[in-house]
């Protein structure tokens, strides 16, 4: 998307444009950042950081807002990765999703399964992980993924097939018990 935007701090049109863009593209950015760091919270923070920095940006007009946001978010993730190490955590959304129907034991079990799958995803290379995230987190078509990865839809299908096979092998190696 080309968006030559730069303006005054209190430009309501600019603010509205940013909020609309956030609503339409924040999930996509989250998926790409998640593919980088395999940490849902950190990927979310990277999205917030990128957009908030764009709010304050007063430099040259930005022609490709998506590329700008991606670059800022990636740089932020790199800085954070240097300072902190990722830590295991229980999923904060489990309580909301289960609506109190799951026992503490079930929640812990689900959290452990998430950790196992997350760990398996981290063993894949960046491109394989990216196509899996775009496919299953974003539900994107091959054509949409091809635009992001700068390749043909056929190449995306091959990569996706290879990534799924590799993930299945890693899960089996780790002794993952699936239903």
């Amino acid at each position: 998307m080309t968006s030559p935007v730069a303006g005054k701090s209190s430009d309501p049109d600019r603010d509205q444009m940013i909020e609309t863009y956030y609503r339409e593209h924040s999930r996509e950015l989250w998926a790409l950042f998640y593919a980088m760091c395999s940490d849902a919270e950190r990927a979310y923070d990277a999205v917030q950081e990128a957009f908030l920095r764009f709010y304050d940006y007063r430099g040259e007009p930005v022609r490709d807002l998506r590329a700008w946001l991606l670059r800022v978010g990636q740089n932020w993730l790199r800085d954070v990765a240097r300072k902190k190490s990722s830590s295991c955590r229980l999923l904060p959304g489990l309580d909301d999703l289960s609506k109190g129907q799951l026992s503490a034991e079930d929640k812990l079990s689900m959290s452990e399964r998430q950790d196992q799958i997350r760990g398996a995803l981290q063993e894949l290379n960046d491109d394989d992980r990216k196509v899996l995230v775009m496919k299953y987190a974003m539900d994107w078509s091959a054509a949409q993924m091809a635009a992001v990865m700068d390749c043909s839809p056929a190449a995306i299908d091959m990569r996706l097939s290879r990534a799924r096979r590799r993930l299945a092998e890693v899960l089996a190696e780790r002794g993952f018990e699936h239903d």
């Binding site: 701090s9 209190s10 940013i18 909020e19 956030y22 609503r23 924040s26 999930r27 989250w30 998640y34 849902a40 919270e41 979310y44 999205v47 917030q48 957009f51 908030l52 709010y55 304050d56 999923l91 959304g93 489990l94 909301d96 999703l97 689900m110 399964r113 998430q114 799958i117 997350r118 899996l132 995230v133 496919k135 299953y136 987190a137 799924r164 993930l167 299945a168 092998e169 899960l171 089996a172 190696e173 780790r174 002794g175 993952f176 018990e177 699936h178 239903d179």
Partner: protein
């Protein structure tokens, strides 16, 4: 399935359908639900207007502290250096007199005092100090 693969695996390799279901469920839990909410822009920290106000406030606080410091220095100045600056100067003079006005010999006993004549005959304290008193023989 190759032999090397069989040797490596400790569990069953999930089928395509199982993997689809697994990954869909995984990302359903993994994607933060906050992403579906509008961007929460902090009202204070990132606002340029806030930064300007903060700077102005800092300048005002520093100026106030400097003014208070100068005022304290003026108030706490030692007495006698400037009698007019002290609000109690006049009062102290009427209530207590300096010691050298009450006593014939000042307790300060400065060298300048000792060289000044204390009597009509012009004898100074230095001279009286040097007089030896000898008893007259009988």
């Amino acid at each position: 399935m190759t032999d090397s693969l069989k040797n490596r695996t400790h569990g069953r390799i999930p089928s395509d359908a199982q993997l689809d279901s697994l990954l869909q469920e995984f990302f359903r839990l993994e994607v933060p639900h906050e992403l579906s909410q509008p961007l929460k822009r902090p009202l204070v920290a990132h606002s340029p207007g806030f930064r300007t106000d903060l700077r102005a406030r800092r300048i005002a606080v520093i100026s106030t502290l400097c003014a208070l410091g100068l005022l304290m220095m003026l108030v706490v100045s030692p007495p006698g250096g400037n009698p007019e600056s002290s609000s109690t100067a006049g009062t102290s003079e009427t209530v207590t007199k300096p010691a050298d006005q009450l006593m014939l010999v000042s307790p300060k006993a400065g060298t300048d005092r000792r060289s000044q004549a204390v009597g009509d005959d012009g004898v100074t304290l230095e001279e009286t100090d040097s007089i030896e008193i000898k008893s007259s023989p009988r």
